[in-house]
């Protein structure tokens, strides 16, 4: 009964437009006061959350990708990939997905990925007669790869809440990330072969290929350094982010010479805004999480879940449905911060690997990012392409189905997720 009441209060606060961070933190404070617990836990919760080395990776990964974005790296990447595959049927779409995948290996945010690649790829594809809806949907969906292919800000946050290894989470995202890239590419080629609307691009000359590849090389190397460095334990995710940030400065400032002081200021300010808003929600969720634990709510929900579901698939199916519905209204990261602390205690008893669940959750968040009416990536593509919401939304659904298909595959064959972190 208390649980239902608390959840209703939370949703009432969220629905009335109170910012998520303050709704969580404030309701947490109210619960502490009403329950007769020390309100000192409010400032302590805020303090101890942000005083954390793992979360330091959030601003650094954001700085890295925003600097690369402002430095026009998306353009170079897309040109390089396009020079190799652009002449194939649906080649520009394939190049777009590959560029999204590569940029995802540099960036931890799907918004940055969608914006970086979208700015270049959308006009190029439209110019070559690609169907508009499909183009917009492709970019909205391709952008979400940013949070599945490591680095990934939602995975850092998930690791922080559940105290799971961020490195393992990063590695676990690679398998399903590559599968999604493959599925998106297959769909693009199929779509192009069956439709007559597409114009083909001319085949690039070897000189063009060499030149554009050389220009994209530093960014490719950077992606390689970040991932292999984390994988072989050369540095922690936070250190990898810092190294990536320094490299991003060197690449755009010294090698390509595309970063002006004005652009740097923009990148730094944008990173600050995103960091503050994300970290504050994490802190608010921490206060809320502490309060509901004192009310024994996660424990109650966990025992309810273990009593109801004897098999993991029922639980996963229900959570997937809840996430799809919640994702219609709620912003992605907030969804994770509200749901995961409550569900985490039930995972092990019911036989679900927390790392697998983290990846599952991230793919479900990706779906939430592109389901109307509220989907961050839809807004990004809408503003990048100057399109109507309906146009983006109508192009997005085939990709949504492919993402849900990936969830299904990873459930039936968990090694897709767990092989790299545990068995390699």
């Amino acid at each position: 009964m208390t649980t239902v009441l608390i959840l209703m209060l939370l949703f009432a606060l969220l629905a009335s437009g109170v910012p998520v961070a303050f709704a969580l933190g404030g309701l947490g404070a109210v619960l502490l006061l009403v329950g007769g617990f020390s309100p000192l836990m409010v400032p302590q919760g805020f303090l101890s959350t942000i005083d954390n080395f793992v979360l330091l990776a959030v601003p650094l990964f954001l700085l890295m990708s925003n600097i690369l974005l402002r430095g026009g790296v998306g353009n170079d990447l897309f040109n390089a990939v396009q020079a190799w595959v652009g002449h194939l049927p649906g080649g520009l779409a394939v190049a777009t997905i590959l560029s999204c995948g590569i940029f995802a290996a540099i960036s931890g945010s799907s918004v940055a990925t969608a914006a970086t690649i979208g700015t270049v790829a959308i006009p190029e594809m439209i110019k070559h007669g690609y169907p508009r809806n499909m183009v917009l949907g492709l970019l909205a969906a391709g952008g979400t790869l940013g949070i599945l292919i490591p680095p990934s800000i939602p995975m850092i946050v998930y690791g922080f809440i559940t105290e799971e290894s961020v490195i393992k989470l990063f590695l676990a995202g690679i398998g399903p990330g590559l599968l999604l890239v493959g599925l998106f590419i297959a769909f693009s080629i199929l779509h192009a072969t069956l439709s007559s609307e597409y114009g083909r691009s001319e085949k690039a000359s070897w000189a063009q290929r060499r030149e554009s590849s050389l220009r994209a090389m530093p960014s490719l190397l950077l992606a390689g350094i970040v991932i292999t460095g984390i994988y072989f334990g050369v540095f922690t995710p936070t250190e990898a982010a810092a190294v990536g940030f320094i490299c991003a400065l060197i690449i755009t400032g010294l090698i390509l010479r595309t970063l002006t002081l004005e652009k740097l200021k923009k990148a730094v300010t944008e990173s600050m805004v995103t960091t503050v808003t994300i970290l504050l929600i994490v802190a608010g969720a921490k206060v809320f999480g502490k309060a509901i634990t004192l009310y024994r709510i996660p424990q109650d929900i966990a025992s309810l879940i273990t009593q109801t579901f004897t098999e993991p698939w029922g639980f996963v199916l229900i959570i997937a449905l809840v996430l799809i519905v919640m994702g219609l209204f709620l912003e992605a990261l907030s969804m994770m911060l509200i749901m995961v602390p409550v569900l985490a205690p039930a995972l092990l008893p019911i036989g679900i690997d927390p790392i697998w669940f983290g990846v599952f959750f991230v793919i479900m968040i990706e779906c939430a990012l592109i389901t109307p009416p509220i989907g961050l990536n839809l807004y990004v593509i809408q503003s990048v392409a100057n399109a109507k919401m309906g146009e983006v939304a109508s192009g997005v659904w085939p990709f949504l189905l492919l993402m849900l298909f990936t969830v299904l595959v990873s459930f039936l064959w968990p090694d897709l997720v767990l092989y790299l972190p545990f068995k390699f």
């Binding site: 629905a15 109170v18 303050f22 404070a29 400032p43 942000i50 540095f235 503050v276 808003t277």
Partner: protein, 166 residues
């Protein structure tokens, strides 16, 4: 009162930009630490602690700028169905809610800070930084947020032009 709003707006903007460069600095510091460790085989004792301190300061002094610019993440889907008057009342409720949370955080966060300050507690880590260097960010950050929330309430009620210096 207009004067008050303008000063708070100005303060929030300045602190926001300061915070942005604090984040930048943490990247430089951690990057330097990695280079020092691998290239010069000389890890620092200060990099991690200083970087975390900067992260704390940056995050809490930048909250008010995000409130001023309405950048905090919130659900806006339902606003489309509301009248202007209803929106105004909800906005007022939201700001009052934030202001109350601020008061609580300032009072209790302040007492944690004051306790450490008076007793001279320190972290006991490599740098042995006094605890209040970190703890003071809560009362400080939330005081500024409280002032900004009050300024926003004033702007809302008296419909003054939003001054948004870039």
């Amino acid at each position: 009162m207009n004067r008050f709003c303008q000063s708070i707006d100005w303060l929030s903007e300045v602190l926001g930009h300061l915070a942005a460069w604090f984040y930048f600095l943490t990247g430089v510091i951690i990057g330097y630490e990695v280079i020092a460790r691998y290239l010069f085989n000389a890890p620092t004792i200060w990099a991690q602690e200083i970087a975390q301190l900067l992260l704390l300061w940056a995050t809490f002094i930048a909250i008010s700028r995000a409130l001023k610019r309405d950048q905090h993440i919130r659900i806006t889907a339902l606003e489309a169905f509301l009248s202007e008057v209803a929106k105004k009342w909800l906005k007022l409720f939201s700001l009052l809610f934030i202001a109350s949370l601020c008061v609580l955080a300032v009072v209790y966060g302040g007492s944690i800070f004051w306790d450490s300050f008076e007793r001279g507690r320190s972290t006991g880590t490599m740098l042995n930084i006094p605890n209040w260097w970190t703890e003071v960010v809560i009362p400080l950050g939330f005081s500024i947020l409280l002032l900004q929330a009050l300024a926003e309430i004033f702007k809302l009620m008296f419909d003054t032009e939003r001054s948004a210096p870039e």
